[in-house]
Structures are given as C-alpha cells and as structure tokens.
Amino acid sequence: MTAGVKLTGLVKTYGEATAVQGVDLDVPAGDFLCLLGPSGCGKSTILRMIAGLEAQTAGRIEIRGETVADPAAGLFATPERRDVGLVFQNYALWPHLTVARNVEFGLRLRRMSAAARAQRVSEVLEEMEIAALAERYPGQLSGGQQQRVAIARTLAVEPKVLLMDEPLSNLDARLRLEMRGVLKRLHARLGATIIFVTHDQWEAMTLASTIAVMRDGRIEQVGTPEAIYERPESRFVVEFVGAPPINIFDLAAATPIARALAAAAGPRVVSAGVRPEALVLGQPAADVAFAAPAEVTGVLPTGGAWIVELACGNDTVFALSHNRPAVAPGDHIRVSAPRHAPHLFDDAGRTCSPVSMSEPATLPTPIDRAR
C-alpha cells in the first residue's frame, strides 16, 4: 500500500516574514516529487511542516488521505504520529550509537523482537551496501557512507512517505551520481511516495517523476521534467532550469535580436528567452524566429560540448553545441533560432502562448560572412 501527500493553501510565517505563502500541491501515491528552487524559497519549511516539525500558520496537510494538520479544524498530529521518513541534509546521525544501533532505533520503538530487528537491520544495511560498517560509529564514516546510513535508518521502518532535504548536497560529484542511481532504484522497488528537496536542477531532472518549481514561498509550476523544460510557464522557471542558462532578450532594447523578436511578437510580450542549445550558428533554417549577424567572442569547451559566446549588437548570447563548432573568436557568423524556439513572456514574467508569435523576421545583414 502506498500513500500520497496533499497540501492545500499552506502558509508559514515567522513573525513578519513569510516563508511559505499559499502552497497547493497534490503528490499522488508512489510519485517521486522534487521540490526545486533557489535557496531560501521555503523548500525545507514545507518538508518540515509535512513531517510535523514546524506548525503551519494556515492551510491543510493530508497524508494518506488523512488530515494531519489543519488550523481551521484545530488538528495537529505530532511528528511522532505521522509515520513519515525524513532524511536530513546533514544526516543527523547519532554520534553515540553504532551504525547498526542507529538503524535499529526506529525498530525498537516499534517493539519488534530482537531477532526480527537484527534481521531487518542487516537487510537494510545490505540494501544500502554498508553491511561491513555495522559496528562503526558515525564519526568513523565518510560523507557518502553517512548518507547511506541516514537513508538506511529511515528505510528500516518502511515509511510510506519519504521526505529528503537536499540529501546529496554535501557529497562530491561522483558520489552524487552514484546516490542518484541508488535512490532511483529504491523508489522503483519500494513504490513509496518520495518528496525530495533540491536546489540543483540537474538532480531534479534526473530523479523526479514530477517537479514542483518554487519561488519565494510559492509554487511556480508543477509538471513532469519534460514539461518543465519544454513548456515553462514563467520566465523564472525557464531561467532556473537549463544549463547553461537561457538567453533572455528585453524586447524594448534596440539590439538586432530584440528588434526581430519584437517585430514578430504580440503586444503583450516584453521579453523572450532562447535556450543556448536551440540557437543555430551559420546558415539559418527555413522557418526562423530570428536570424542576426553576430561576432564570435569566445569558444568554451566543457568536455563533450562547447559553449560559444557571441556578441550581437549589445547582446551577449551563449550558444551550446554538441559538435565541435567550426568557428573561432573574431569570426562573423549568423545566429538564428527556429520559429518555435523562443519562450515569450509578458510584463509579469508569465509565458505568453506561442500563438502571439507572428511572421518570421530576417534582417538584412551587410557584413554577413556566414559559412
């Protein structure tokens, strides 16, 4: 049996400051949801409210269809009674207990027999591949090992809802990749509902079945990783997701690209963004949103891909190429984007429907030396 989590109108204020301002979120049972957002946007606060470690100011929290906290109904279940698992960012292992005793703690509370406990502990340690460390103390473990113990401790009691607060942020790149694989397999096997907090869009993209992008205590957009990437609903989302970051053009500016985009876009559109990987260098395709002359100012290899830095009027534009680009700094080329590549935003930063994009515009280029 699995369980879902539902948040309705969740608000959390600390005195004057508002950490979370009206969050609605429905996490279906078995979902792997990533709360993604810059640091300070209220991700941890939401997680802690679900676990019961913080009390919300307003709004309802339901776990497994059961309301666990709701000021309007006078309900508040203590963390002890919510039966969720929580993995802390800094692991929070108990330094005075061995790995095995750390993992065993929750089982003891559930009055399991000694034999059953030992059996379960060794299963979980086996699963996290740390069986050899059972008798060590947390102080004798590396960061990656501590992380595995922290997860094992939470998994031992088989929570139906698993909350993780940036659990990989203290690990080095290689361990992070490895742990992502572990988490993904774990989710597939357990089928538990996982809510995972991160400020790393890569992590969110690779792990999640659903991503909720947060900004200043609000949820900006919820969707599958593909939807978040391909159909961002706001300028904030488009800027936050994607590496290298998207090129943003202020359409009021008098640069070639801005003028081309402005001419084609509807009146409500005030800015537009084109992802580096969507830009085409050289001969423009048939159906373009814009095509403009530009000068190559830098070629930055990132190992496996290349970032090309371009000056186009007063704009600095970054393009991403997965093949070695046949350009060098100082070259003058044409840069263009396919017709549907630009993301268009109104003055509130919301995405305008692509319909507002009209005729393609190609500017004449006197110094056109594209190859």
Binding site: L53, A55, G74, F76, T78, E80, L86, P95, G106, L109
Partner: protein, 598 residues
Amino acid sequence: MSGVSPKLLYSARVTLAEPATLIGIVLALFFAYLIAAPVLAMLVDAVVVQVPDARRIGAEPGTFTLYYLERALFSRVADPVFWTPLRNTLTIAFGGVAVALTLGSLFAWLLARTDMFGRRWFASALIIPYILPGWTFALAWLTLFKNRSSGGHAGWLESLGVSPPDWLAYGPVPTILILGLHYMPFVILLVGGALRNLDAQLEEQARVLGAGQRQAALRIALPLMRPALISATILVFAECIGDFGVPYVLGLPVNYDVLSTSLYRAVNSRQEGMAAVFAAAILLLGALSLSTDLWLLRNARRFATIGSRGSIDRATPLGALRLPASALAGLVFLAGVVVPLAVLALSTVMRVPGLFQPANFTLDFWVGTGLPTMAFPDGVLRTPEFWDAARNTLVIVGTASLTAGMLGLLVGHCVTRTSWTSLSGFLRQITFLPYLVPGVAFAFAFLSLFAVARGPIPALYGTNLILVLALIADQMPFASRAGVSAMMQLGREPEEAARVLGAGWTRRVSRIVLPIQRRALYTGVLLPFISGAKNLTLFALLAAPGTEVLTTFSLRLLENNYLQAANAVVLVIAAISFGGALLGQRLLGVDLASGFAK
C-alpha cells in the same frame, strides 16, 4: 469540541506537541520563585518594620518604614554602621582587583606569549589558588601572623619571637593580598585566552604596517585586550564585594567590618531590617559593576568579534629575564598554594604553634582524645560532628550539583527547542540573575524568603532543603550557560530525527540527548560540586546547627579559637575541592578552565 475555537485548539496542540515549551514554563515559574522572589523579599525587608523593632519604631510589624535606611545612611551611628563598612568594602575590592589584575595579566602574558621556563606546568599550577577555598589562605595567614592582641594561641612568628603588627596580621592588607591571589587565576584565564586569540592579528598588523613592537602593543594589542581586561576587572570586583570568608576571618580580631561581615553579624543578632539594607547595598554594588561591564563592552564587543586565524604559538624570547620570570611564577605558586597548605597542614600536628621541636608534634588534633580544648576534646577524625558535617556536605552539595547540572541541561533544552522566544529569553535571564547578586546578599535574600512560612511553603530554615535550593540557585548561571551552549552545539536535528521515527519526549531525552551530552553533564555537575564544597558564604548564613556542613563547622571552630581543628577541617575541604577537580580532569575529561568563564 464545541465551544473551543479551532485556532485555539490548534495552538494548544502545537504547543503540547513539543513538551520543551511546557517544561520551560514550569522551569520559569520555579526559577522565578527560587531566584527572583528571594531578591524581592529581601529588598522589601529593608523598608518594612521587622518584628523585633516594632516597639522601638512604634509601628506594626510589616508596615512601611524608612527607619532602617535612615539609620544606615543618615543617623548618628550611620558612619560606624554603614559608611565605614562601605568604605572598607570598596577598599578591599579595589585592592583585590589591583593585585589580581597586576599579577594575573603579567602571568597571562608570560604564559601565553613568552618562552619562560616551565610554561606548561605553571599554566596549570597557577590556577590552583582558585580551586582552593579563599579563606584557606586567610586561616593560613592567621596561623602565621596572628599576634597576642587576639585570643587563643599566638601565630608562628609570635612564637619565634617576632611580633607582627596588627596592620600586617589583620584587616585590609592581608585581605587584599589574599583576595588578589585567590582571584588571580580568573584574570590569567580571561586575559590569557584573549591574548592567545590575538596573536595572529597582532603579528600581521605589526609586520604589514612596519610598526615597532612597542607601538603595536600600545596601539593594537591594548585596545583589543580591553574587553578581556574590563571583564576580568569587574568580575573580580563583584566577587570581592560578595566575599564573606576572607574579610571575616581576618577582620574579626580588629573589628574591620565590610558590608558582608556586617550583614552576617546583623543576621546573627536578629537585625533583619539592617541586614536587608546591607544586602541591598551589596546587591546595588554588584549590579552596578556588572552593568558597567555590559555598558563598557557594548562597543568593544563589536570589534572583538573579528575572528583571528588559529593562534600562532609565537613566543617572545625573554633572554636574561627567562629565569627571573619563572622564579617569580614559582614564588607566587609558593605563596598561593604551597605555603598556605603546608602551614595549615603543619599547624594541625603541632601542639604549640610555631614551636619546631619533636616533642611538640602530635597527631592528637586529628585522631587524639582528651584534648585540652574544652568543648572539643577529641581529634577531628574522632568527632562525630565532623563526620556529620562531612556527610551533610556530600549529601547537600552532591544533590545540589547533580540537580543544577540536570536543570542546566534542561534549561538549555527548553531555551533551544521552544518556539516561544520570550520564554527562552526569560529562562536565560532569570538563571543568570544570581550572578549579578553577590553571594552574601543572595544568601540573605534566601533567608528573607524562606525563613518563615509563606503560603503553602513551610519555613525552610534549619532544613537541608534550603541549602540545596540556595546552592542550586547560586550555580544556575554556570549550569544553564553550559547547558545552553551544549544544546546549541548539538543542534536540533538529532532529536528531530528521533521524533520522526516515533520517539516521544522522554525517549528522546534519555536515549539521544543525555548520552550525547554526557561530557557536558559531567562538567555541569562537577564544577558546581567543587564550588559548592568550598562555599562558605551561602552556608554561613543559611546553615543551622542541625544542618552543619564542613565549611560552617570549621568556621565555628575558628570562632571558638580552636585553630588547629579549624585548619584540619579546612584541609579536608581543600582536599575535596582539589581531588574533585583532579578526578574530573583525569577521569571524565572535564575542562576546568570552562568553569571560569561562568
């Protein structure tokens, strides 16, 4: 649940979900009664008619009167009764500060920054005077310098044919020297710590700016050292005005009164009104000096927080002064530890003081019977009263320090875990309050509140409980600070991890918090124990004949002029303090230096 607003119900459930808040409220009430109420009761005592004076004042007991204040401040007897003791108090306090500060900063610098011989050894050895009870030195001094003008045996010098003048034997001069020596370690630790943190910065500044060493010291080191120097000065000052034992032992023979001894005598002669005025004056001085500290450091702290990189252990070569510096440290160690202890020890095995002949040596004062001392015919170790007092000391001080240590941790837990910031602020402040109230004033405050039955609380005077409670209150500033910093360091995650796994409050505290904080708890118990075992000030006022402890027992022996027996008991107390300190450091890894930061 009709009738109760959901909002209210929600708040109640949230508050109850974290027992730290509830426990914090209970603690706050407990400390308000234990700490704030006595001080208030004492202040009130100074302005209401006390029972014995009702006829003289011509008013009902308990009604408002300015009689005591008037008598102390303006009457014909005001000068001998109040102003002279006040002047004397200030004299010994300023004198004590001067001695402690001079010696303390000198040794702090020598120990922290130079290549003097035996640096590491002296770093521990020069702390010992603070571990021993302050009036140990006073008794040793009397044993050496006592002259014929007071009763009992003469001192050693007198026996050797040199008659020390009164000014050297009694009164302000020895009091100042002894207070200075006793509180010197305080200065060494505070100033030494600051000097050690300063090293890197100072060196950089001097090198970068090309300043000479002297200029660097004056322009940079001194201003940066100011916070530590001011703190040390004021803490020593506050300790000196609240000290009772040393001025009592040394002032008694020449009627040299200070506020604390006047207070003691007023209490003993049942003049509660006057005692309250003395206590209020001491309280005022203590509060004044500590608020001066806070005020002066308001600006200083801002730049004192600039972190310096780890200290570079750069020792200034002393050259030819290396040996004299170590010799001076050795001399102070002799004067502050070896000589007093040796004199006390020897005095307890000599029939006639200062007579160094084989026949004069005896163990009778320890284990003998049929001694010529009238009311005290047996050696100390054969006297049941000694063992009663020893047992009382262990029971009372042990209970109090255990409780204080646990309460400190509990306060730390509540302060760091409750979401009610005002509660956590109140708990911190109320447990810090006894620190502002010099010991003797606090003892009297306790007497004011608990000597008579008030409401459902029976009169506690004459019970062990009042001593235990007073000691607990007295130790709370240290205990709660230690608890708060330990809990802050721990953070809340380890407990939260247990919570989400389903552990309730008791389990969280017993399985997670206490085991992790084991070391902090040892410190929080052991340091109050050491300080309690040698505490005379509180006990002198609060202990009744039935609840005698070692310190009051030795005081009574002294008052009866049984110097040998008194010294023997004091030696036992010193052994307990010192043994406790050593044991703690060796077995439990308690950091004794942390106890001085209070």
